[in-house]
């Protein structure tokens, strides 16, 4: 493997997730990958992202996917752009590592899978938490039978509002996540991690989901808080809560709880509270971080495994069907929250999900 040339990457979308996660991951894998081109509607952002690697920058992603010297594209764009960009990449014979959530609709997801399958290129959605050492250890413990059969999975993710003077991460005025024309809200923006992890840890497909959601941040136009309850085909229950409305200074944290027939697993970001300041009449958490589980190791592992799969002609480590299934659960939760009624899902995803289309 060592004598194979690096996989040549085109990075599409040069916003915050590219800068904080994907570019550092690319830089840490010089033997495996090389950044050749970047694209962003904001050419300055594309140029900045390209600078360190000496890559070329474009304002139109098509110029990246049409380059013959690129093997794969890394899509770090909003989900409402994914279908068009994946189809273009596949048509040009490029493999795709696509940021989560996969798409805003199952129809888009199916077209993405179909396009990659037809073109014979690989598609993986970057559900980075699957690649954290924390959650890989949890999955291994379940597989070993450490807690018996899983009875209940809880995934909570709580984010505080920005401190005075800080810019909000999501849901700020003018940000696309707050625009109902292109965003359904917290369930896809951050909650897609929860729907993915609930399935992964429950070890079964959801058969029913109930959700309640609300808009808690002033000026926001989409739900930024959602709580969902899931029944899985194996009888396990899942519960997840994604909120972005905690007061500034409250310790943002992520919480996993798994209860099995003979044990339990818990994981909480206690390190997020590493600094607690007590003052007369108040305590706060000035060291609270806003990017939960933003673990660089996970992004590096994710990219490294995907690229090795391309080089060695192996299955990608996370089939696109898994991302579609997480999306399916998330969209069902939205439908439930809108209707006020539980939504029933078939125990098995649609036939198109089977067989790892696009792998």
């Amino acid at each position: 493997m060592g004598d194979k040339p690096p996989i040549r990457i085109g990075l599409i979308g040069c916003g915050s997730i590219a800068a904080s996660a994907h570019l550092p991951a690319i830089a840490r894998l010089p033997q495996l990958v090389r950044l050749v081109a970047t694209a962003d509607v904001n050419l300055e952002a594309a140029t900045q992202a390209a600078a360190e690697a000496g890559a070329e920058a474009y304002s139109d992603y098509r110029q990246v996917v049409e380059r013959p010297d690129i093997d794969m594209v890394l899509l770090a764009t909003p989900e409402y752009l994914h279908r068009e960009q994946v189809e273009a990449a596949a048509a040009n014979g490029k493999h795709v590592l696509c940021e989560k959530p996969m798409a805003p609709s199952l129809a888009d997801a199916d077209r993405m899978i179909g396009a990659c399958a037809s073109a014979g290129v690989r598609l993986m959605v970057a559900h980075s938490r699957r690649f954290t050492r924390r959650y890989q250890a949890v999955r291994e413990a379940i597989d070993r039978g450490d807690i018996g059969e899983v009875m209940m999975v809880r995934e909570n993710e709580r984010r505080s509002r920005p401190l005075p003077g800080e810019e909000g991460y999501y849901w700020r005025a003018g940000h696309w996540t707050s625009d109902p024309a292109v965003s359904v809200g917290a369930i896809l923006t951050n909650g897609i991690h929860e729907t993915d992890l609930l399935r992964w840890f429950a070890g079964a497909e959801p058969v029913a989901v109930y959700a309640e959601h609300s808009t808690t941040i002033e000026g926001n136009q989409v739900p930024d808080f959602i709580t969902l309850t899931v029944k899985f085909a194996n009888g396990a229950l899942g519960s997840a809560e994604v909120s972005n409305c905690w007061p500034a200074g409250y310790p943002s944290y992520h919480q996993l709880e798994l209860y099995g027939t003979s044990g339990m697993i818990r994981s909480r970001d206690s390190e997020q509270q590493g600094l607690i300041r007590f003052r007369p009449g108040a305590a706060d958490f000035p060291g609270s971080y806003h990017r939960l589980l933003h673990v660089q190791d996970a992004y590096t592992t994710e990219l490294g495994l995907f690229v090795r799969a391309l080089r060695d002609d192996l299955p990608v480590p996370l089939p696109a069907s898994e991302a579609r299934a997480a999306l399916r659960l998330g969209l069902a939760a939205v439908a439930s929250a809108k209707s006020g009624m539980p939504v029933t899902l078939g125990a098995q995803p649609s036939p198109q999900d089977q067989g790892g289309a696009g792998q």
Partner: protein, 310 residues
């Protein structure tokens, strides 16, 4: 100081805890009350005939509480009972009405309302310190049990307690409620529920004996987290305990510090009521009505599998 004589009917875990608090040498002994010797009484009717008894704790099964509570209140004896007060809405309402018209006070409460954190939370909520609550999360768990009967009693009580507390924190009746059960467990399955309240508050609840044995956490373990417009709160009301794990291979032993002892705090509140003052932990008639409606919706959702609008 007036010392009231307290009689105990029934033998639930709280009755045992009360007796332990009054045992000779107990560091928890509470001076406002003297414990009546009701163990030898032939029946609860005999206890009611004892004129020296001022107040009764009902530690009998919930299905028996209504008849005894009504008789006790009619006999002029104060009644202390934890949730659930009775098993039917009609019985609940009848007891509540009897307390309003009678001369003796009725204190319906829960362990959670009688913890320091629980009490403080309700005070903060009432005072408006939290602002409008966007979300309320409440989880109540305990170790999986072998004894189905006591486990079932605990399941019932904790479910009522959790729903009551969530409604109290929301400050209004739920407008919609959904509940679902997990796999069978001794005493009853894990119950998850979601509640939507009229002003937009959303609640998420989890109640069940789902912890492995011996539980490496406090028993019961309750977590509450509230995101309000003005402030947020996270607490574990039963945390303030002394936990001993190990020794001779025995499971965890938990001793409660006196000032966070729900049983003692119930008696404190009962003494307040007997003195003609208000009791912080009391579930008043209006709150009881909200709770009854909420529990009816929860039961209906569990049976029908649908969300129930109130």
């Amino acid at each position: 100081m007036t010392v009231h004589k307290l009689g105990i009917i029934g033998s639930d875990r709280r009755a045992a805890a009360l007796r332990a608090r009054f045992a000779p040498g107990s560091p928890f002994a509470f001076g406002d009350f003297q414990l009546a010797d009701t163990a030898a009484a032939a029946s609860w009717q005999a206890v009611l005939k004892d004129r020296s008894i001022d107040a009764l704790y009902l530690g009998c099964p919930p299905g028996q509480r209504a008849e005894i509570a009504l008789a006790a209140l009619s006999a002029g004896k104060a009644v202390l009972a934890a949730l659930p007060l009775a098993m039917t809405i009609a019985d609940m309402a009848a007891i509540s009405a009897a307390a309003v018209t009678g001369s003796a006070p009725l204190l319906v409460t829960s362990d959670l309302r009688c913890t320091l954190a629980g009490r403080s939370l309700l005070e903060m909520r009432t005072a408006g310190d939290l602002g409008h609550p966007h979300s309320i999360y409440l989880a109540s768990r305990w170790p999986q049990a072998n004894d189905d009967r006591s486990a079932a009693a605990q399941q019932t009580e904790r479910l009522w307690e959790a729903v009551d507390f969530m409604i109290a924190l929301a400050g209004e009746s739920p407008s919609r409620l959904f509940a679902i059960e997990g796999r069978p467990l001794p005493g009853g399955p894990l119950v998850l529920f979601n509640a939507r309240f009229g002003s937009g508050t959303i609640g998420t609840g989890e109640v069940g004996g789902i912890l492995p044995k011996p539980a490496p956490v406090h028993d019961p373990e309750t977590e509450i987290e509230i995101a309000g417009t003005l402030a947020a709160v996270r607490c574990e009301p039963y945390r303030e305990t002394v936990q001993v794990v190990g020794g001779k291979g025995e499971p965890a032993a938990v001793a409660t510090s006196w000032h966070n002892d729900p049983v003692i705090n119930m008696l404190v509140d009962l003494a307040e009521l007997l003195a003609g003052r208000s009791a912080a932990s009391a579930i008043g008639p209006e709150a009881l009505q909200r709770l009854i409606g909420g529990m009816a919706a929860l039961e209906s959702s569990l049976v029908g599998g649908a969300a129930v609008s109130l």
